[in-house]
Symmetry: C2
Subunit: 358 residues, 2 copies
């Protein structure tokens, strides 16, 4: 029998935030609210008679019922949120990767909680605590630096899945989805060698970013194996700024040695900064030197000169990471194995044969 009396409404003023709860629907449908809960959850819907089920569903729809994910999260211990920690939101590399993640998580009913650490390790710690207190179901970290090992181990101990993306930390027991940066460095070296360069330079990124170490390793090994000469310049500042690239280029130009004919910069912006500085000194690219960038930033093909670069499948990496995370959370499988995605060389006009070849 329908319980009458206590008709909903009447207490709230028009502007009031009015949320429809299970109980409201239950009253309207003449059932207990637990029945409503069951009728609306696909997993339990068959526990309720098909007639009442339809009725309840209709009433719920009519009243605009929306499950309160906060209450559900508290009860179930699963919030359907995934924290995504990034080093810098405005970095185009990061943004593309995020789009990949976001587009994959959304249809699975998972909400990415994107937090920006501004590449500050202290902020990483703070932010992770904050995220854990929000009971995220899992964490994707795309901003790991070598020094972050302890922090990462700490959240691993919380028992929730953690996946590293883009950046990893050697020796950590966490699945990592990265670009194959050794291959990236190798491709750059092979390209310069194939063009005939025998004296090369490397403008390295920060030493606490593992992918930079990998790029360096791939590059230097290949150069050494070919018996060519290499000079290495190390950046101490932030990752991948034009200023940093210009700074290193100035060092190179100021040294007594002859300018190397081929240069590998660890980031496109570093390459562009280097080119600018060289031009100030009357050197032109690729006439006087060749340079290979890294990351293949958007619109870099419209720069002057269009930059030869190592292209990274960023959005795909994001999708892959999100896919694995969805799988991990839905089937409760064991942590997946790490994977590396291969970068590709994109030849444009910032590289050519060394001058003495012409």
């Amino acid at each position: 029998m329908l319980r009458s009396g206590g008709v909903a409404g009447g207490r709230e003023r028009p502007g009031e935030r009015t949320i429809v709860t299970l109980e409201d629907v239950a009253r309207a449908a003449g059932v207990h609210y637990s029945t409503v809960s069951r009728a609306l959850d696909p997993d339990t819907a068959r526990q309720v008679n098909v007639m009442t089920r339809k009725r309840v569903q209709a009433v719920a729809k009519r009243m605009g019922y929306q499950k309160d994910m906060v209450a559900s999260g508290l009860k179930r211990g699963r919030t359907h949120t995934v924290a995504v920690v990034v080093g810098d939101l405005a970095n185009p590399n990061v943004a593309l990767m995020l789009r990949g993640i976001s587009n994959r998580l959304e249809p699975a009913g998972l909400m990415p909680l994107i937090v920006d650490t501004q590449n500050d390790p202290a902020r990483l710690e703070r932010v992770l605590d904050h995220l854990l207190s929000r009971r995220v179901d899992a964490v994707i970290v795309t901003a790991a630096r070598l020094s972050d090992g302890p922090t990462l181990r700490r959240i691993r101990r919380r028992g929730i899945p953690v996946i590293l993306a883009v950046q990893t930390v050697p020796g950590i027991r966490l699945p990592a989805f990265t670009h194959d940066d050794i291959l990236g460095g190798t491709l750059a070296a092979q390209h310069l060698l194939a063009l005939g360069h025998r004296r090369v330079a490397q403008l390295r990124g920060p030493a606490d970013i593992y992918s930079c170490l990998q790029r360096a390793q791939g590059f230097s090994q290949t150069i050494a194996a070919a018996g060519a000469m290499e000079v290495v310049l190390r950046s101490s500042g932030p990752m991948g700024t034009a200023e940093e690239g210009g700074h290193l280029m100035r060092q190179l130009l100021d040294s007594k040695r002859a300018l190397p004919t081929g240069i590998f910069a660890h980031h496109d912006l570093m390459a562009l900064g280097a080119i600018s500085v060289a031009e100030e000194r009357g050197l032109a690219c690729p006439r006087d030197f060749s340079i290979v960038g890294y990351a293949d930033l958007p619109n870099v093909e419209r720069m002057v000169p269009p930059l030869t670069s190592i292209s990274l499948p960023r959005e795909e990496l994001g999708r892959l990471t999100a896919d694995v995370m969805v799988e991990l959370l839905s089937s409760g499988a064991r942590p997946p194995a790490s994977r590396k995605l291969a970068p590709t060389l994109v030849v444009r006009q910032s590289t050519g044969p060394p001058r003495d070849f012409r």
Copy 2:
């Protein structure tokens, strides 16, 4: 007296997710858990004796207690989350704005829930429902199109604060923080006029984006007031792609009329696309025509030619929006007034005097 017995631990296996609750702390500190709750909340901490307060705080810290924001959210009805709806995460404009928002929300203890609609109105609706069911405290929408009016009004009716950023919809009763796009269009026109251009063209963005209408209005009014000639080309495709700009430029070149000497593109990428197409036909910029872009994308100064553009204070707009939102949520004030931030003209080398002046 300390209750002994039932020492925590012993039941959980090492890998188990082990969360410390108020009750755990209470047991360890020998008080009731409501006292712990009060002692740890700055607003209620003075309700508990300073001695016990210190003790409880120490115990909580030692045990690594972290308030469960999910439970707190359920009880208080405030989740300390702000939804931020964007049209495309990978758009550099959006990314910078997001950084501004994110950096401002974080110290206030608010968590941005960033969702990407891929500029799809249907997805906007879906996603907003999802966000509301997560009981977000407020919403910032940066992707509003003219057709989104009804959707926006619907969430306004839910009673939570909504602020529009970057894009607005005319006639809607919601605070909007935007760039002054009329001024932006005006600046572009004034610049071209000052250089001596008398025949100009406008490459317009999509008609359902209000800021494009504003840019057009500012530009056309200024051109008309100076008695110069203008031809308008309308883009029907997505916002601001190079292809779109190239497409419109082709139309312009294919028309019987003489090529206008000055062009205003509604987006930097459109401008770049237009330049590429013109170059294919043997026309050079700024020799044969001048072009002004919009948005001042990162690294656009390194393009060829370095693009004259209208620069928008994106990150500042993000900060401002977030600031207002924080204020709104903490003090419960009435909705703020809309504001417009002024763009600036950045002159580079894609504009110069028209050919006949030389």
